[in-house]
Symmetry: C2
Subunit: 346 residues, 2 copies
């Protein structure tokens, strides 16, 4: 494995400066002293890249400098004073700042996996450890990327891609002696939030989507969430992590768009709720993300709002995990936990 | 870190051959082919030690030999044919079989921590990685043992000490960027099983204990479980893992023995249940294992029988984990997951 630059110090570059990237910069700015004290390790951000430019500082941005970077408007980190460059050249960045870990936080693109896929490939080939919360490169090329990390003898961690803020994937990865047979959960926060609104306020899907957009939870195009693509990507990552290759295209899906107010009222009357339920059956080799009507006493029925939960059945017992699915600062903590795990070798 | 004997092979010695030790031998015998295929790694048991003797084989017991060792009566592994020796000399064992990992599965003793404490100390000083499911050495000497492992540059893993079969402690250890503030859970399977029986069958504590003893869940002396010592030990391990030293003696405790049939009936009538609730408050620096009357809609009220669950509150979200607390084969899987994590460096 690539050694850290020096004992007690880990240098990272952050590629992608949206919600999670900004959450990470903020978390490091605010928590670095506490972490250094607790763990004897200091995380230094030596470079930040967005779609149009980059900012770099060889000996690492101070906490105050990181907070100042957050004041830059979106996609203009390259315009910041002293450290900004109005172009993106990641190899140039590597050469100048010599990072230990490449943190890939670009947005997901399920058609091409880009720009994350090329970025991660380049980082691994360069001999860098990689941490990512971007699902699409893993959906496109799980086996290629994990094999490349192994050949290059570097770490490749992606805990934040599933249940963003909850250590489910970390625990699952550790469960190597267990044979996981079946898994069922709520893996997409936005669609769960929308469905919760529809039931609790008796809203149409259009109105519920609007409300989720207002608080910044749903995108202007909510398709990735409500049509099940995001959850399907998570099932692909979970399945591959367990050693079972499945293709994104083969995950059966149904959309929230099929549910109207009348369905909701009838369900409530009869003691049911609609949920976007993700299911992975490794015995029958089937994966699906379906909008299902489940009884109110189902363990998943009580998982409300932006919460995620997953129930897994193994050859040696059943387990249940629940926690917040996403959020910039929450997912940033997951990314930072992966970074610290690499740095501490633990 | 100490390197594995050779690529794709990990040699372990198993110290303690009770429920978990036997569960481990059985799991390795039955699953080794599957694990080798899935992970490119073979776990070889090269030595087994019980209180009176040991059995060793330099190139590792075959699956059939492991299953034969399980046919030996308790505490007589030293009497087995060919490989048995009717004395215990762990240094002699190390010298002859050159293990990579010492697996410590002796029973807990909260007065002295022995024999686990001396065994783990000796193993770490010998330069061996250690995996344990025995709580008492950690309760007695958490800081000493973790510091020793660091100085010797070996791994020391103990996931199986808390919620035996559930990867809670593994996930918690990873959550380094989070500040855990509060934790509340059901950490002792036996007392939870006994309380569940008392509520569901309206049994006195004496009768419920007898029933739990019949199925092998409660010990002949059930004090460790029903007086809260086992759960208190788990809180000490959790707290220390999070960097907060607390002493076993300072965990406030109350016993199940205080609950009689009349309490149970009144509780049921009023919509309550009694649970042994373990609480760790890292802000107020308080730890307790108390028998509490909680409302039936409390998240812990639904955790029944031998199940464990824990709810944690951090500065960045709340999480809930549920799974089986113990069981020989289940905890053996946890131990094996720790072994595989060390072997794969992952």
């Amino acid at each position: 494995m690539r050694l850290m630059s020096s004992y007690g110090l880990v240098k990272i570059v952050v590629i992608g400066f949206g919600n999670v990237g900004r959450g990470l910069a903020k978390t490091i700015a605010l928590k670095n002293n506490e972490l250094t004290k607790k763990l004897n390790i200091t995380v230094k951000v030596v470079g930040v890249v967005d779609s149009k430019g980059m900012a770099l500082k060889k000996d690492g941005f101070t906490g105050i400098e990181l907070l100042k970077l957050l004041e830059q408007p979106r996609s203009s980190v390259g315009s910041c004073e002293v450290y900004g460059r109005n172009y993106v050249d990641i190899e140039e960045l590597y050469g100048e700042v010599q990072p230990d870990i490449h943190v890939e936080l670009t947005p997901a693109n399920y058609d091409t996996g880009e720009p994350g896929l090329s970025n991660i490939r380049r980082a691994l080939n360069y001999g860098l450890n990689v941490v990512t919360a971007n699902k699409s490169p893993l959906v496109k090329a799980f086996n290629e990327l994990t094999a490349l990390a192994q050949v290059r003898n570097v770490k490749f961690k992606y805990t934040g891609t599933v249940m963003g803020a909850t250590p489910f994937l970390r625990a699952l990865k550790w469960m190597k002696a267990h044979r996981v047979e079946y898994l069922r959960g709520i893996l997409n926060s936005t669609s769960n939030y929308i469905l919760t609104l529809m039931h609790e306020k008796i809203l149409s899907i259009e109105d519920a989507v609007k409300e989720a957009q207002l608080i910044g939870l749903a995108e202007s195009n909510p398709s990735l969430d409500i049509d099940g693509l995001d959850a399907a990507a998570k099932l692909v990552i979970i399945s591959n992590t367990l050693g079972h290759s499945i293709r994104f295209e083969n995950v059966e899906r149904s959309s929230l768009r099929g549910i109207d107010l009348r369905d909701i009222m009838i369900a409530i009357k009869n003691g049911y709720v609609y949920k976007q339920v993700s299911t992975l059956d490794l015995v029958k080799k089937r994966a699906s993300v379906n909008v299902e009507r489940i009884p109110v006493n189902d363990v998943l029925a009580g998982v409300k709002g932006a919460m995620n939960a997953v129930h897994i059945v193994t050859d040696t017992g059943e387990y249940f995990f629940q926690g917040k699915g996403g959020g910039g600062v929450e997912t940033a903590h997951t990314v930072l936990n992966d970074v610290l795990e690499i740095a501490l070798g633990d």
